[in-house]
């Protein structure tokens, strides 16, 4: 499946957010945290879309391929369909664990430093 193996690396790249201690209100740090979450959110949304549209296009263009039965009673169409549901669940799980680990920590650290 596309770009699955690339995900953990991307999430881990900026895992410790560097807080700009010198800035007066912490606005820079908040921006960075927000933009990092946005990047992950859009990247994962794109993965969902690619998966689903890819599957819909297979349905439109590659019907004979989808009807191949790997073993008796198990067609490629059914395998792909079940795989997509499982992948959707895994992507969500990945996001929750990323956000719990990195996003919440960075945000909490930032809030401690610049409490109003």
């Amino acid at each position: 499946m596309p770009s699955e193996e690339g995900l953990p690396k991307r999430g881990g790249k900026n895992m410790t957010v560097e807080l700009p201690v010198s800035s007066n209100s912490g606005a820079e740090g908040i921006r960075e945290i927000a933009q990092q979450r946005t990047r992950i959110a859009f990247l994962l949304t794109a993965v969902v879309l690619i998966l689903y549209l890819g599957f819909m296009l297979l349905i439109a263009f590659a019907k004979p391929m989808l009807s191949i039965q790997v073993t008796d009673g198990l067609s490629l169409a059914l395998i792909f369909a079940a795989a997509i549901i499982v992948l959707a669940w895994l992507l969500a799980w990945y996001y929750v664990s990323w956000a719990n680990k990195h996003h919440d920590t960075a945000l909490a650290a930032h809030q401690r430093m610049y409490r109003r």
Binding site: T45, M56, A77, I84, I85, A88, W89
Partner: protein, 515 residues
């Protein structure tokens, strides 16, 4: 009514389980009513729902009896093609909702998503237009659910369609009117739990029937109806139509007002995120079970028998329950279906009442100067009014072909709600004028394109040819709404645009200061 089944005949197990459900839910309503004092209690259950409960309630709001029995039935009749709708609409929209919306909406909103838009864009015209879009969506879904409920109750219990619609309407009003969001949430939690439990029991019975060999289920189905049912058939032959439907299902189902409203019932963003995680687990699990149940019904009951009871296949799962578990199990299963049907419009009612009372009455007409007490009273009146409308619509549209409405509601959610919601959260240059133009474009273009499509022109007006061939307008109206919102925003930029967005971006993470 039919020699092959006792469906639709009085059944002691069904009536007992049904009365039990009513008793439990009314007790919950009584309990919730004593805890519902402020508007915050009424609209968002005092923001005290935990992640697990909220996840179940979100799944409950989203999964209708019509959807569950309908998809199961469709699979039992046509096989794999019946699952296509379930993917985009039911499963893949949830991760998108989690990534794009969960935390920002929780932190920016008070009771509704209309609130988020009007707060971020500092505009009351945005409030009015997005309230109209919300109400249009709530009414379309209510109508669809009411018609589905009336039909299902008729098929399951032999009651008349009108009585079914009436029962659903009255019981729903009682839940929402007295118990507010707290009672609604619990009703949805029970509904989702019942759905999982009974789907699991039925799946287990199907597997037991085939000696616990998963592949024997699909082999059995293929034996009965030919191997073609295991792969894609003629549904969605055109790639444009396929993409158009896919995008609209994902973005539309991710932007439903009554589901998004559940983000405000939890204490913080972390809980909002986790709730969606739980909801996804429930929905993914149920979808996978539907594979087994649909093909199981095809193999065990057979499409001919299913069609002889209901042409659309809606009774496939109850028939399967009867065949595998006997009359008593059918009775309990039918009562569970009834509970699922009952719960269906409660979430829509709360969402509609919140928009009418909080967004339109208090913040638009009264300029935000109404007391809590007045807001609550208006919300309760709105609940009753909405319910009367829902019952009336249900009666008027009895027996009508509503396929166009499914397409229309999806297109409106995906093109009037989704683009502007994404832009307001993630694009700093969106202006109030841009948002209004984007929402209006999405709404009007969806309406026009559905009207010109085969769904209305051929299926309803019986014209020889449609004005446009596309059945699913998503591929045109979603990008169009984005473009219009962006272009109008760029020519109506305010001087403090960037600073204001910096504040919004901050509040998306840490919550609104003046809530």
């Amino acid at each position: 009514m039919n020699a092959v089944t006792t469906l639709g005949q009085p059944n002691v197990a069904a009536i007992t389980s049904f009365l039990l459900f009513i008793a439990v839910s009314l007790f919950i309503t009584y309990w919730a009513a004593r805890r519902t004092r402020s508007t915050e209690d009424f609209f968002v259950a005092g923001r005290g729902i935990t992640a697990g409960k909220n996840g179940l309630a979100m799944a409950g709001d989203f999964l209708s009896a019509a959807g569950f029995l309908g998809v199961g039935g469709l699979v039992s009749l046509v096989g794999f093609d019946g699952l296509i709708y379930a993917f985009g609409g039911a499963v893949l929209s949830w991760p998108v909702m989690m990534f794009l919306y969960a935390e920002p909406l929780r932190n920016l909103g008070k009771y509704t998503t209309v609130d988020v838009l009007s707060y971020c864009l500092r505009s009351s015209s945005v409030r009015v237009v997005s309230a109209i879009v919300t109400l249009a969506l709530v009414l379309m879904y209510m109508l669809l659910q009411m018609v589905g409920a009336g039909n299902l109750i008729h098929l399951l219990f032999g009651l008349s369609y009108e009585t079914g619609v009436m029962i659903v309407g009255v019981i729903m009003t009682v839940y929402v009117l007295f118990g507010g969001m707290l009672a609604t949430t619990w009703v949805q939690i029970i509904k989702a739990a019942l759905m999982i439990i009974f789907a699991a029991i039925l799946t287990w019975l199907v597997l037991a029937h085939f000696g616990y060999d998963l592949l024997d289920v699909s082999r059995g189905a293929a034996q009965r109806s030919g191997p073609a049912v295991l792969a894609a058939g003629n549904m969605l032959s055109s790639p444009v139509e396929a993409i158009s439907l896919g995008v609209a299902l994902i973005f539309g189902a991710a932007s439903l007002p009554h589901v998004l409203m559940r983000f405000y019932t939890v204490p913080d963003a972390l809980t909002a995120r986790r709730s969606v995680g739980h909801a996804i687990s429930v929905i993914a699990g149920l979808s996978l079970m539907l594979f087994v149940l649909g093909f199981g019904a095809m193999a065990i009951v057979g499409p001919d028998v299913i069609r002889s009871v209901d042409r659309g296949g809606n009774m496939a799962l109850p028939l399967l329950a009867e065949q595998l578990g006997g009359t008593v199990f059918l009775g309990v299963f039918a009562a569970v279906c009834f509970a699922i049907i009952l719960a269906v419009i409660s979430g829509l009612l709360v969402a509609g009442a919140a928009t009418l009372s909080h967004d339109l009455w208090v913040n638009s007409i009264r300029g935000g100067r109404a007391m809590d007490k007045e807001e609550l009273a208006v919300a309760r009146i709105a609940t009753v009014v909405l319910c009367i409308i829902a019952i009336g619509l249900g009666w008027i549209f009895k027996g009508q072909n509503l396929a166009f409405l499914v397409g229309l509601s999806t297109a409106v959610a995906a093109s009037a709600n989704f683009p502007v919601l994404v832009l307001v959260l993630y694009w700093r240059r969106l202006t109030a004028a841009g948002a209004v133009a984007g929402m209006a474009t999405g709404l009007i273009v969806s309406l026009a394109m559905i009207y010109m499509s085969p769904l209305v022109q051929v299926d309803i007006l019986h014209n020889a040819a449609p004005i446009i061939a596309l059945r699913n307008p998503g591929i045109i109206c979603i990008p169009l709404a984005f473009i219009v919102a962006i272009v109008v925003s760029l020519v109506t930029q305010r001087r403090d645009q960037i600073e204001h967005y910096a504040m919004i971006e901050r509040e998306m993470l840490v919550g609104r200061a003046n809530r």
